[in-house]
Symmetry: C2
Subunit: 528 residues, 2 copies
Amino acid sequence: MDSLARKGNECMSDMTKVLNEKLQFVTETLETAEKYEHALHVLNFDMETLCPAEGMEEEGETIAFLSTQAYKLLKTDEFTEAAEYLYEHRFGSGTEDAPGDDALGELDRVLAENLHREYAKIKNITPEMNHEFTLTFNKAYIDWLNAKTASDYGIFAPSLAKVREINFKDVSLRTEKKASVYDSLLDDYERGITADDLDEAFGECKERLIPFLEKIRNSGKVIRTDFLHRTVKDEQQRAMTQYLLETIGYDFRRGAFATTEHPFTDDLAKNDVRITTHYYPEMFCSNLYSTIHEGGHAIFGQLQPYEHHGKHIANEMTLGMHESVSRFYENRIGRSEAFTGLIFDRTKEIFPGILDDVSPREFYEGVNAVRPSLIRTEADEFTYTFHIIIRYEIEKMIVNGNAPIEDLPRIWNEKYRDYLGVMPANDAEGILQDVHWSGGFGYFPTYALGNMYNAMYYNRMKNELDVERCVSGGDFASINGWMKENVFAKANLLEPKEWIRDITGRSFTPKDFLDYLEEKYGALYGIE
Amino acid sequence: MDSLARKGNECMSDMTKVLNEKLQFVTETLETAEKYEHALHVLNFDMETLCPAEGMEEEGETIAFLSTQAYKLLKTDEFTEAAEYLYEHRFGSGTEDAPGDDALGELDRVLAENLHREYAKIKNITPEMNHEFTLTFNKAYIDWLNAKTASDYGIFAPSLAKVREINFKDVSLRTEKKASVYDSLLDDYERGITADDLDEAFGECKERLIPFLEKIRNSGKVIRTDFLHRTVKDEQQRAMTQYLLETIGYDFRRGAFATTEHPFTDDLAKNDVRITTHYYPEMFCSNLYSTIHEGGHAIFGQLQPYEHHGKHIANEMTLGMHESVSRFYENRIGRSEAFTGLIFDRTKEIFPGILDDVSPREFYEGVNAVRPSLIRTEADEFTYTFHIIIRYEIEKMIVNGNAPIEDLPRIWNEKYRDYLGVMPANDAEGILQDVHWSGGFGYFPTYALGNMYNAMYYNRMKNELDVERCVSGGDFASINGWMKENVFAKANLLEPKEWIRDITGRSFTPKDFLDYLEEKYGALYGIE
């Protein structure tokens, strides 16, 4: 071995030593931060579920205190420098195309890239700006709440303009630029997806779904839904929640459920993924499908690779990826005739008297009835996409400056008329119905993308698994096993487009989703 | 003003300045520690109620992490020195009998005394010893659990000896001595109460209650209890819990309830005092009276003076004082005929069919039936005190070295035979029934003291308030108002003996309690 090679080895060895030290420091700091995060999740879950009204202020203060402790840990120069060092040396003495022997392992590399991406977003944001952003969003939330209560968009409009301004300021300070401000915002929720992708996908949706909705309207098919509004007691809905979660394979040794007005899933810790649901006496289906939806999110959380927790890259999948799973369980499985058939008898038992005059087929049809309506959260599977398209089109106009803030209610109402044939009677059931814009723009599309992703992987799944037979036989071990192996395994490692190509071998497209809707609803409404 | 006086003033002013600085530092540090404490209470409550089985290990780790953070804050030299400075200068330039103008205010003085008292107990305990103590108690707990499961005292005996040894070591290292080791241990749970006090009080109890129990046995009175074991569903017991807590004036804006195997009350924060209860299908009374018992603890927590929280001396009352309040609500109120009459009709509604063939009088008699039994937690109000006396006599013998560890089961069984006329068939229902001794000695007497305290203040209360009329009319505002003003107001400030004298103007005595038992049970069993 000549002296040059020895020197080279020595240098590598030095770098490896430093890299390992930095990695250890970053990992240990993240471990400590995750202890605080775990506590924060428990406190937040408690605040949403059991905390009494007058206890909330103090619980909020304790949450703020612990958040600050966690924040401080990750905002030191030492941590930032170590994390940036990892990112710069993630391929060791090699390059992205030819990583060196001393490169970080895959999971450590993903961690370094995640930390770098987050850092690039915030490195130029001063604490003062961060404070200004927080105040703006908090005020916008309060204004939205007041505006919705009064059904008066005028109360919210100035805050909405200010949120837009803050979003612009935030994006302008980032070191990594996208093609447009809107793309930057979108990227926060759905990495790698652009407005061009959405224009194309939603364009196809409109092209096929608007005329198809007309056919549904003209089909003359009448679907019974009267029984869906019969009164079901809370404790019966609680028993139903338990039954449904058990049925779809949610693991109660590693989870629990509680009730909240707005259901959610919370990954508190590796072995503690909880959901919430709600009980509306006259809408038992709201409990039923929100349970399956959140249960889907939770199964995703419970069946992530264990080692991702150890490497601090758990729960790194995008919102759209998460929604693809929850909607897979809610719609593809939960609203299939195989599933409504599976649960029919037990549902009759748990809800005595409610389904006595209802056939299994009527139950299936009832939970799938298409009803163009004004409210997104109550929409059926078919019309749901329109609600998202409308929000996408309007938020893109807002960000791009193509719609004056004062004109939004009119624009909103016209789109509801054009796409769904319904007209809001007031701002509360129109432009003000969702909270999201008080926190910025770019979130809504993730809801629709989820349906498109799962339609793509469902088409591979059904080639490898007799899905219908699994569902009607209650064999969720097979379904969840397939999801774990194919859908969940790399969700923390890849961006959505890479991930969907990895699962299906195909590029992202809305086609599978549109085919599915036309086939299912064509059969249901006797079209063609 | 001459120069000496000026100098004197300057000195005072300097001291006042330092005192204020130290007070501010101590107060701010305690505020931070209380944020951690609040989070720890939420996490502990969550662990006991909702946390799934496999999530407990991680939640336990997070609890340990946050505990360490809080512990570190209060174990710095700076904090200890500041706290000791406050204690030494609590009377300013004056003395206890004649405090200076620059003395600490009453609440700050109590804080300084509390911190000093705790410090005096632990100042000579090294971290290694503390670790040894913790390991010993943990092992004793596990051994007790295994021993009880196997009903084999031999498994627990070596640990019990070790716990005694640790208690001795702990006490020997304290800077402030009591008359005996047992008095020191007792003082940890019930400040200022000594074995002499208990010997006298329990001596009177035995003298009057043993012959009275004989009269009850011979009275020939038969009390119906069959209906107490009829099956009541969980959701009905849940509705009962809600009704009872509302009835006794528990404030749901500042509290909530959940279920656990062993009910408890948790003061999570100033405006968040929660209870837990349990539902046994065949013993609805267990839910009923554990709810009122914990509800009593919680009302005490909710009605403490607000300023005690601000001064970090909330929840400083002793266990006996707390038990006096919970047992006041459970027994003095909850088992009175006024109360069983108040809730009778509503109970019939909430538990359909359960009380149809039961009269209000039979309901009252049923919940008060005297049945000498082996198990403390299932004991009636009359025989309960015997269970405590037996434990007191035995733990005092253990600590004083008057009973070999291996003889304890025999001693236990003989006392049960002598006092209650029953004999345990095995160790599990005898010497092993309670967990407490795995954590040390001195706790049990607080349970009995509570009954004696509340009997004393009840006798003042009934002179100032028509208690029976309040209860039968559901006027708990008056009862709770009286308790707040007279019983709760100074509970954080005074030791039990001072406190009971402050409320009643009399020295501590078991007489009121014994008079009450003889009067109530005399009437119930037709004695004399």
